[in-house]
Symmetry: C3
Subunit: 681 residues, 3 copies
């Protein structure tokens, strides 16, 4: 008889042995002759690089034939890096199985919704539910862990790459079988499944588990509850792949394990669940070039990553030094932009600034992606900025481990996003991403720091909670929000919220039922607007009277206790309430029944701030200020996105220049500043 440990060991949550802000990127030396490696390491040291991710796409090199392994080159590489003091984030290469895998297991290919199998020649995992893929992935992870699990160079495990991209939903027979098993586990009986999916509609009732299938293309729209469950299943299947690899590694290694998230691309992963499985949260973020204010999306992504990390420091695993290669127009970053991006991530809680990738690839699909060392080499602007950023980060070491505190929570729920993205919604202009971004940007402009939160989470620590897009809202989450308000919180809810339950079924008491008592209104009918149609609102609250313009949506609202803050002047709801405010217990619930732009939302949030006891920061336009709190100091991180210098209130020492700051620090046009303030000072 062996004794079992009674509790889980405490696992490390940061790359082992890394005592500075992490700096570096993906390193793919297999694309280059070994003589280049020495130059790489020399230049890494010159740039201040202390952490590189290796092996992410190396499966075909490490296991050239099924079950035959060749670790020689990786041994030499880790040795070289270790000798030069560069720590290693070691990848498992399972995001890109070798050609031999697909040749041996053609039925493990991912199949699209219309039945096309996706083969080799690009990148992308095999079907996440296929046993052969899972076995092969665990085998290579096990091999790596056995060989390198205690290697002194290895600081972190990087399992797979960007789960959910480019492969998520899989309509193969293997996936269908796994989906059936998953449904049996979820529902137990067919009756329960029939009820949950509402199969009485359109005659879809199942009499045999064997008849339940993946929601592939059909003559018309497929059952939305089925599709929503398939999204949940897909997420679970991907996460099961991660967990299997992680556990294979943990059997041989105490090095912490991560996988790189892509938080704001709204993909197929419910990261609230994933965050519980990783030892340390890491994220990839790329600017959307077509977005003139892409730095706001960056801030949102960073805040979401911090929220997933429960406030602990996190790793910016990938971003770019300049242009990416996969957008319609890949706009290069302007001088200084890379540093602003990096410092914004750092200000929002990242203690690691990493890039894809170290050296630009000559071949392949991403050869036009920027890198730390571009095709133009060490005489280039990008290289100069990479070196300067490395030096700057060296000056910010003391920021490590400090934390960010937010007074505002913005609700964020992947399940709701999945549900709202299904077909046949009341209007194609309904766009949850747009609404989340608009409310977030309003808060960003007002200088308020924001956490993202699940609607079912404990919200009691926030003064203000904003729900821009809570289409799927369970009764339990509705109760959670009600409690939050009743106990003194302020809640702002946007339209098309609280519509369906976890099965995409309309709440029994109608649209918005879970929020009805909290907000003091109910929605009798949706009144979506025509393409391009606008409506005017008369705003009349707290002494402020003005007229606003809105579009996309209106509701036919029934007042059930709420006060009217704004009234429709025209359109399908002319004369009726547009924005309402309701006292509920010790708190206040606002409802906004139409689409207001970021400027117009200022009126709504001004009122909500007043209710919540919040004050906007009052900073100049386009200046971003975030604060991190350490045990003895607060660090004010200021980023100036504007073309002119600005003054930001601060008191202490500017760390990048080492200069003293009295009352205000001047941040140059396009520049950054980090001021150490004494806490309570």
């Amino acid at each position: 008889m062996s004794s079992q440990p009674s509790s889980e060991p405490v696992r490390p949550t940061w790359p082992l042995g890394l005592d500075r802000i992490a700096y570096g990127g993906d390193y793919n030396p297999e694309q280059w002759p070994e003589e280049v490696w020495k130059e790489d390491v020399t230049l890494m040291r010159e740039a201040g690089v202390n952490l590189v991710s290796v092996g992410i796409f190396s499966w075909a090199l490490l296991e050239p034939r099924e079950g035959e392994f060749d670790f020689g080159w990786l041994d030499r590489l880790l040795e070289l890096l270790h000798d030069n003091g560069i720590r290693v984030d070691l990848g498992t290469p399972t995001a890109s199985p070798p050609a031999w895998f697909f040749a041996a297991h053609p039925d493990a290919r991912v199949v699209t919704r219309d039945g096309t199998p996706l083969g080799f020649g690009s990148r992308g995992m095999a079907g996440p539910s296929h046993p052969a893929y899972r076995a092969a992935a665990v085998r290579i992870a096990d091999q790596l862990a056995r060989r390198y699990g205690r290697h002194p160079a290895v600081a972190l495990w990087h399992v797979h790459n960007e789960y959910g991209a480019p492969v998520s939903e899989d309509y193969s027979p293997a996936s269908a079988g796994a989906f059936r098993a998953w449904l049996q586990g979820r529902y137990g009986t067919l009756d329960a499944l029939n009820a949950a999916w509402g199969t009485a509609f359109w005659g879809q009732r199942y009499g045999d588990w064997a008849h339940v299938d993946v929601p592939a293309v059909a003559p018309s729209v497929v059952n939305p509850a089925q599709r929503l469950d398939f999204a949940r299943f897909t997420d679970d299947a991907l996460r099961a792949c991660f967990v299997a690899e992680r556990d294979a590694i943990r059997a041989h290694s105490d090095v912490p394990v991560t996988t790189n998230f892509m938080t704001t691309n709204c993909p197929s992963t419910d990261l609230w669940k994933w965050a519980d499985e990783v030892d340390v949260v890491s994220n990839d973020h790329y600017l959307t070039a077509a977005d003139p204010r892409a730095h706001v999306d960056l801030a949102l992504a960073a805040d979401l990553t911090r929220s997933l990390a429960r406030g602990r420091p996190w790793i910016l695993m990938e971003h770019s030094t300049s242009a990416v290669n996969w957008q319609p127009r890949n706009i290069a970053k302007r001088p200084g932009e890379m540093a602003r991006n990096a410092l914004s991530h750092l200000g929002r809680g990242s203690d690691a600034i990493l890039f894809f990738q170290w050296r630009a690839s000559r071949s392949g699909a991403e050869k036009f992606h920027s890198a730390m060392l571009p095709h133009a080499g060490t005489t280039s602007r990008v290289w100069r900025e990479v070196r300067a950023l490395g030096a700057d980060l060296g000056r910010l070491d003391e920021v490590r481990g400090s934390t960010v505190r937010a007074d505002v929570a913005l609700l964020w729920d992947w399940e709701s996003f999945w549900a709202q993205d299904l077909e046949w919604r009341p209007s194609v202009d309904l766009d949850h991403r747009e609404r989340v971004r608009a409310y977030y940007e309003r808060l960003w402009r007002d200088g308020l720091t924001v956490d993202l939160a699940h609607p079912g989470a404990d919200l009691s620590g926030y003064r203000l909670v904003v729900a821009p897009a809570s289409y799927l809202l369970t009764a339990a989450s509705g109760d959670n929000l009600s409690r939050y308000v009743a106990q003194g919180g302020t809640l702002v809810v946007s339209y098309f919220s609280g519509i369906v339950d976890e099965h995409d079924a309309v709440h029994p008491d109608g649209y918005g039922a879970p929020l009805r008592t909290t907000l003091g209104v109910s929605v009798e009918e949706f009144l979506p607007l025509r393409e391009g149609e606008t409506v005017r609102l008369a705003w009349d609250h707290d002494g402020e009277r003005t007229e606003l313009v809105a579009d996309v949506w209106a509701d036919d609202l029934v007042l059930e206790g709420a006060d009217v803050v704004a009234t429709y002047l025209d359109g399908p709801a002319a004369g009726r309430a547009a924005v309402t405010r309701h006292r509920h217990g010790a708190g206040t619930g606002w409802y906004v029944s139409t689409r207001l732009d970021v400027d117009a939302l200022a009126h709504v949030l001004r009122g909500a701030y007043a209710d919540a006891g919040l004050t906007p920061a009052g900073l100049p336009d386009e200046v971003e200020v975030v604060r991190r709190d350490g045990p003895t100091a607060r660090f004010v991180v200021a980023i100036n996105h504007a073309d002119a210098p600005v003054d930001v209130p601060a008191d202490g020492t500017e760390l990048l220049t080492g200069t003293a700051v009295r009352g205000r620090v001047t941040v140059p046009a396009g520049g950054v500043a980090v001021v150490r303030e004494h806490r309570g000072g």
Copy 2:
């Protein structure tokens, strides 16, 4: 030896036992617990509902496993409805076969043109030509007819649902086999098929019947005659499914049989042929939200339905109380709009006003579709209007059975539409739907009542015939039109008419050959205009001189006896005839060689009205007036789509209010009026 009846019995042509205007909708109680049914029936009575359609999507409940039937719930439902005086339109559920059917017959799945089979999980029949589907459909229809064929609640049979949507063309092997058999029946010999299809072009000659296939995707454009025949075959295959079910029912029931058409969606069914197969014509109509004048399309649909019914009363089987759920932006109806829609259908010959559906579904693809009883319940505006409409219809009982008479026929031919919709036409701006709608809307605005007619039909009863889109026009139909004009009729023909014969082959004597002598012109060459290009026309007819603007199209016209009414001032046909008028026998033929908008068409039709001895109604804008004639009374149905009250000439009694009308009735803004006039008064 049994004796056979020597002739068909006369079949009932109206829901049995229904002695009022029918009012109600689709009723899907299987989506709700049985305790809700009682509330449903109570509310139905409150609203004046007297007919509901049930069982349309119930196959999986009625036959939970192949060959095992469970009618208990339907027995109880019919009992309950019967006890409450609500009559039943009983559906056969064959538009949505159960999961077990697709599992047992995967080869019965419909296959798309590019080879994708369409499975279960949505709605949609199996391949209409597959023997297993036909057998299963007939079996369930037979079972229902045996059990309920003489049930006192059952007033009407509702076979299937909306044939042609979402399933029409099927490229499966089963369909290919049936298509070959159909072609052998049509052509007899391969030589005949080769000739009809023009297979000498591009080397497509067939030497073996086994090589003839469905027109699936190919490297370039597929033979248009083959595609046109495949459209005909598809229509025949769908209709054969209907006939098989209908005959199975008739073996056990004398209740009349219908299936719900979708007249103006231009689908895959040639409803001229279908109308001969049903006992009573019924139609589904939904407004197109993006169309600011969707009520004109409604009128066209209603007129077409009446024309299909050969002037007899018909059933509006489905429309909506407010928004639908499947358009890009599902615009709610404004207050009063539902009543205007309903009365427009009624004015154009419908004696039944039914909705999809009674109670809004909580689950499934259509949960955001409006209903008589919406998610918001009985306190809602929609419910109030539903009750009011039920009451109003009760006041209009005497209108039942009266008929509508039209002086104008608009040509409508599904075969021509199918042919014109094939690829590689002279211009993508050619749009037969648009031209039909434009000419129809001109007649609508002029207050003239319109029948739709096939080009080969007897047209002698009409003063004016308009051919907005007769691309495919057989020589026989051309002769029919020629006779019509020669005998005194007035004909208006739009461009791109009379181009091809029944095999999509250009007429031997060139474009427009079948109309040449009637119109006194021939078309030497098409002169399509560039994108956005406009041309000016000098209009000079009957003392009126003006300038018009046109677009999309011009012809190089050769005058062969016609007079020039309008001349191109610029563009590719500058200086040449644009609109012509020709005396042919005792009548007149007009030709319009370019696209004029609804306003500009007023000039053309003013001239044609004069030739035809017709006078526009001279009503205010946006007022719709239609008349139904009974044995002793004429009913003037007036619908005011405008925002201000209008006066409409009438004399008698306004039936909704019971007030006397002398000379004119004032119809309120957005309102309706129905005046009983004594005939000949």
Copy 3:
């Protein structure tokens, strides 16, 4: 032992027995009863037709069942044509195999990238690599050659039809096998393939030839080097089909062999290679109706065809008398336009003016395509112009055999176009066709005659070489351009040139490396502009100072010896060089780092002309003048695209009218003139 001939016989390079400018078109008499043939021949003689292409789509008639041949109708047809002095361009019908072929060999169907097999019913060859297709194609070519190889009517062989359209890339298993064999031939070892394709990126390394596949759809972007090689393989496979048929014909016939190219559609054929395989170059050209200046594309196509023909006379195998049928809007040609088109081809070196097709088809996909004899018959404008053109060509016989000389070469390389068209380029606004056309149109407007040339060709005969789109440029081609400049040439290079090598790998020394010393600049980073963004340039060269506007692109340029000619005033490269000029050896290299429109390019080319010693023609706008040189005379071909008459300098005899020309010839609005000048006169 048999003796082998020591050298290839000299092959005829012009349709045998044709002693006039060829005039005629595709003739498909199988679409008509034989009694029509006699009328056809009578009308052909009336129109001056002396060459027709027959049999192109006749496979199913000639071989109605596999291996059974029926040549009777073709025997009679050739006899009839021969008797009437009309020579025959005899097609092999392999572009459209019969139904029996596809039925017998379903695995020979072409498969699309997403796995859809393309069947019969349209037109299009089978998979070019499938052995059954190759065997069947050679068999029918052999049969035709045996029977007609010495027939007195046959003047030319017309193998297949438009290789590459509608079939080019084939993803079938047969194609995959052939691709693997092709790759083994190209690379020898897997190591070489792995290196060439850069398979270390994304873990694509191959360990077994059997795992290498066609680049079908995959989860993300497929390896670009693999796709580029697949394009090369596809071209080789198509060309192998041609060569196999050609060799089968040559075994029995000395008649020259051609196949009709489609030069400017940028299809899947590398016509530099094809031109070496045909006895005479022929081309199909159709105007793009949506292009208001489609005649410029015509000139480009004609110049490219002449360049492919190494300056020898060539055949315009197809163009249209008026509209085509396959564009979105098929615009009819205006009066005179057909003659202008024909004379432009002739002026640029064609000695044959042929059309698709002789008589308009009544049936099939192209019945709305114009013809020499349209549906409207011999009373039509088109027929009158066809007769007039035939007569005009009879007056130009002496032009035959004369040649065109160009001072300017524009670089044109299908491999580079293929590579640039792959995914994930820096900007979707990069468009090589647009740049080629813009530079060509600038030269066209300046009245300069242009050859097209491969970057590796001998360029020493040109004063100016323009490289508008040389994304893929090998080091060897870079050296060729460097030599050209060093020896006194003038080179103008547009942006995004010299980026990758033959494997789509970035040049080791960075963007533009092969041109670096020639141009005196290097490109540090791409700075693509946002959608719709424009930048301003200060132009300052040779005393000219002005401001230009550009869009789409900018570079971050590093000057390495070049002079700055224009500087960015704003945008991402503000203050940096936009256009440079560099003396290299005895010549000059220009670099243009942004997109200038045709007007703005005048500034660049004015400078380059000065360097090259070239002078623009100084003609009025929209007048096109080209010259052909014969042994004793020069022929000035002038085409007036404008609406007013213009004077063109010339001296001699206008051949169409027979009038003497002294100093200038007046070309009527929309008209043409051909003046014979004595050489050196």
